[in-house]
């Protein structure tokens, strides 16, 4: 009996297995940021424990950092950053702080440095760790108790997950991006559909995506309820990795690639669940509600809550429309926005900025619309500036900011005001996610840019 990709990676990391106990799984890479780590380091100190493998641990500052020049003004945010610096120094963990050439969103810098590689286990106290699954790694978010556990032991006791295949059949139509695809998938399977599973995204449309696109897909696995999402590695993966600072070199590279080529689901393997998605049926996608499963084609309308078959869905839809200030039947294209946010671990990589710049070139952001372009890392910002993208953004009237998580979760100064509405390339449209009372529509970078120009939810083809 063959094995799936997820099972192969799992099996290769089992330190200890016993009846009626979870497997003890080895962790190859532990990413740290300031928000979910201070209590874990305190726990180590209280118990007199050390970090077992600082050489497999790396930290950055991302959630609280300002995207405008100058220091952190909020004293509580500053204290959290200072705690990270002190903890990293005390426990010997490498840190890329604000101002460092490798600072950025934790899920952007791991791949950028070549630290994320096929077949690895990767964890971080952040649910979007699923991003790293794009490389064929088994990568998932953990809580602070688990952060402490990994720091102390470099392992985690975990129940073996079930496996789900998301088979994307056919090719994506022109103008339909990775973000539209994953939003469409979540609309189809729901926010709970992936609970208990590791998803493997498969099919020609997935194979045709760049690494950036695959990261966007895997990033939002958690919004479908799955702790991890994966794409089998292939030549696209190897070409992305080749020459990166932490990628294997010389003979090691050849040995690594030979191993990586074995990291595919065997033909005779079976998944616990298979979901089929018709790529050709997709179009630019947008959310209308307050969870990422409440989405629809941009060409559609705000749904009528009464038409949902399930009672919980009906209640949730009505509640969402009330919160979002929307009326059933309104054309989604008629929804005006105040703010456009391009960035985050979902869509803050160079390809995302290029897609936004392609739309904004020789156009203007609509009067009264605030457009924030926030690169995912310092390196992404430098690349964008080398290509002149920042000039495209500023010429269009958008704001070119510094790297960080920014308005994805509004832990820094970038927030929506109560009642304000955004088109956002981030991953969550939860109530208050981008600021108390803020209203979020999740979109792709291209749709975000077109929306900035039109002032209403708009696809580039509509301009």
């Amino acid at each position: 009996m063959g094995r799936t990709l997820a099972e192969k990676v799992w099996d290769a990391h089992v330190v200890r297995s016993a009846d009626n106990e979870p497997d003890l799984l080895y962790i190859d890479l532990h990413l740290i940021h300031e928000v979910t780590s201070p209590q874990a380091f305190d726990g180590l100190r209280a118990a007199g424990r050390s970090v077992r493998r600082p050489d497999l641990t790396i930290a950055t500052e991302d959630h609280n950092v300002p995207t405008t020049p100058g220091p952190i003004e909020d004293p509580i945010s500053r204290q959290q950053i200072e705690a990270l610096r002190k903890n990293c120094a005390e426990f010997g963990v490498r840190l890329h702080p604000m101002g460092d050439a490798n600072q950025g969103i934790v899920h952007v810098i791991g791949p950028q440095l070549g630290l994320t590689q096929p077949g690895m286990t990767v964890v971080c106290g952040d649910s979007h760790t699923s991003t790293h699954g794009a490389f064929g790694a088994l990568a998932f978010g953990i809580g602070t108790s688990e952060v402490e556990h990994v720091l102390a032991t470099q392992t985690l006791p975990l129940q073996r997950p079930m496996t789900m295949a998301v088979e994307v059949v056919g090719a994506l139509p022109d103008g339909v991006t990775a973000k539209d695809l994953i939003l469409g998938i979540i609309t189809q399977i729901g926010t709970g559909g992936g609970q208990g599973y590791v998803i493997e995204y498969r099919g020609e449309a997935i194979r045709g995506l760049s690494m950036e696109g695959r990261m966007t897909i895997c990033n939002m696995s958690i919004e479908a309820g799955a702790r991890a999402g994966m794409v089998a590695p292939d030549d696209t993966t190897y070409e992305f990795l080749r020459g990166r600072p932490h990628a294997p070199q010389g003979n090691d590279w050849d040995a690594a690639v030979a191993h990586w080529r074995s990291l595919v689901t065997d033909d005779d393997a079976s998944f616990d669940k298979v979901v089929t998605v018709d790529a050709a049926a997709l179009s630019p996608w947008v959310t209308w509600g307050t969870n990422p499963g409440q989405g629809a084609p941009l060409s559609g309308r705000v749904p009528e809550p009464r038409e949902f078959a399930d009672e919980a869905d009906r209640v949730a839809a009505q509640r969402a429309l009330d919160y979002m200030g929307l009326t059933a039947g309104t054309a989604l294209r008629d929804i005006a926005v105040d703010t456009v946010f391009v960035g985050s671990c979902t869509n803050g990589r160079i390809e995302d900025l290029r897609a936004a710049a392609d739309v904004l070139r020789d156009r203007r952001v609509a009067d009264g619309v605030r457009a924030l372009i926030v690169p995912g890392s310092v390196a992404v910002a430098e690349q964008a500036e080398k290509e002149g993208l920042h000039e495209v953004f500023t010429a269009a009237g958008a704001q070119w900011r510094r790297a960080g998580c920014s308005m994805c979760l509004a832990m820094n100064a970038d927030k929506l005001s109560p009642g304000e509405r955004s088109a956002s390339t981030s991953n969550r449209n939860f109530e208050g996610r981008q600021g108390p009372g803020g209203r979020t529509h999740l979109v792709s970078p291209a749709v975000a840019a077109a929306t900035a120009v039109a002032g209403r939810l708009t696809a580039p083809a509509d301009l």
């Binding site: 330190v15 080895y26 978010g141 602070t144 556990h149 709970g192 919980a312 939860f430």
Partner: protein, 195 residues
């Protein structure tokens, strides 16, 4: 962590689905670097509404939360578990949990109880009609009891044992330090190091 055996007390009906961890505790409260003191952040936005169920004094001192499906989705913030515990909750009952939240709960000693949709609805009806009803969540017998209602729940044997004993996961894993060292000796040399 404190052992969990049997808890009896009032239960709060939260008739909402998809209660994500951003609702349980907004990001603004995540800037703190302590592990306690999050009670004020629990459902912070919803508590501004006087009609929100947690503002109903009849449920004061409740130890059990009975919520709609997909409770604790979204962000991995363990602060969501800490906030519920700081407020006084010892157990959450729902038809379905977000995976990360459920894991965090068992690490911190908050009991996640999964019951069928209709049983959860019946429980909610019951404590809405009688807010003073004593609800018992019994991890020893793996059962929720209130009045004539008795509902068995499943939990894996290892997690149940750990919660009953209040055991420190790290201490348990460190008993296998030799296994970890043996595994480390087999890792391919080309795997990346950060230092």
């Amino acid at each position: 962590m404190d052992p969990f055996t049997v808890v009896t007390g009032r239960a709060v009906p939260l008739r909402r689905s998809n209660v994500d961890t951003d609702q349980i505790i907004p990001a603004e409260y995540l800037k703190r670097i302590t592990r306690t003191g999050f009670a004020d952040g629990l459902f912070a936005a919803w508590r501004n509404d006087p009609s929100f169920v947690l503002n109903d004094e009849r449920y004061a001192g409740a130890q059990v939360l009975v919520a709609g499906p997909d409770f604790g989705t979204g962000s991995s913030r363990e602060h969501a578990v800490w906030a519920l515990q700081d407020y006084g909750f010892r157990a959450v009952v729902t038809p379905r949990f977000g995976d990360i939240f459920r894991g965090n709960a068992t690490k911190a000693g908050l009991l996640p109880v999964v019951l069928a949709h209709d049983v959860v609805s019946a429980l909610q009806d019951l404590v809405e009609n009688d807010p003073c009803a004593d609800v018992t969540v019994d991890l020893v017998e793996r059962e929720v009891r209130v009045g004539d209602l008795r509902a068995a729940f499943e939990i894996d044997a290892y997690t149940r044992w750990r919660l009953l004993e209040g055991l420190d996961d790290i201490g348990l894993t460190q008993r296998h330090a030799d296994d970890i060292a043996s595994y480390e000796a087999t890792r391919p040399s080309w795997l990346p190091a950060t230092a």
